[in-house]
Symmetry: C2
Subunit: 171 residues, 2 copies
């Protein structure tokens, strides 16, 4: 049987008010190809609103250039204090609306689900995740932490996108 399987471009984002990681992969059937990844370093000086604008502009530039079809982002469970939650929330809000300029397909995954998808178990440590990302995407070196987290959520989405999409359609 010859089933046509189009390439889907996924952008994974790991938003933060100091560093925002991003990872873009192309998925075709079972094959995942690394396209681009890195980390936006948000300048610490200046007003907080200028920092949100940096995140927004950085992600806007990426989505305009790479035109992802689907966005994947880590679900946040806040156990920190309310002040950190507010800061992270603002960064997430800015990143999400920037990404949604090109697509409304946004999916969230819990940290355990992401680790499960990459390493095979929910309680893997960060070093293992980074190592696996390098292997799975045939990278020349181990990616930085925020970059790896963004690629990890993109890969997690690549693995489970069929089920997710089906559930979204049925909802």
């Amino acid at each position: 049987m010859n089933v046509y399987s189009p390439t889907v471009r996924i952008l994974g984002i790991d938003p933060g008010s100091r560093f925002t990681g991003f990872g873009i992969i192309d998925v075709n059937g079972q094959k995942n190809r690394h396209v681009h990844s890195g980390c936006l370093r948000i300048p610490l000086k200046g007003e907080f609103s200028d920092r949100l604008k940096s995140i927004y502009d950085g992600i806007s530039e990426l989505v305009q250039q790479y035109q992802p079809c689907e966005i994947a982002i880590e679900k946040v469970f806040m156990n920190k204090n309310a002040d950190s939650a507010l800061k992270l929330g603002q960064a997430r809000g800015a990143a999400i609306v920037a990404a949604m300029q090109v697509t409304h397909e946004l999916y969230e995954y819990s940290p355990n689900r992401i680790k499960q998808a990459i390493v095979g178990r929910g309680h893997a440590d960060k070093t293992q995740v980074r190592h696996m990302i390098k292997m799975l995407l045939l990278l020349s070196k181990i990616p930085q932490e925020d970059e790896a987290d963004a690629l990890a959520v993109a890969l997690c989405h690549a693995h489970s996108r069929h089920t997710q999409r089906l559930m979204k359609d049925l909802a």
Copy 2:
């Protein structure tokens, strides 16, 4: 002495993940004129990302149409739980980057400072604030809560913008 005093348009925003109030005033010297105000009702159904997009689109439309020069927003002190802080943060992030499409002049004021500016004391209740907003801007009726909060922060900024701008220039 004849000092030229240009009209400055201020947008006040009271962001929230369910209701986002907005208030636009024109300031010329000591005179404040009400231009437009209201409340974006964010649809509760749908994904959280679609709700952030609604806030972003709503504020984008307003700033494109009314072209404010300066933005005023209430400073948040989170005493609620981290989960509420995250939600509010996301709404704020989306609203702020939308507003910053037209201007980088964004100012924050604490709730007490806003009440002080409108009612004359920092611990006034919401009803008093709404009543004073109606009087100060010669509105035909008392504005709704989120709309009043947005107009209040815009008016607070109108009162203190000279000092604020001076401090920003000196920083």
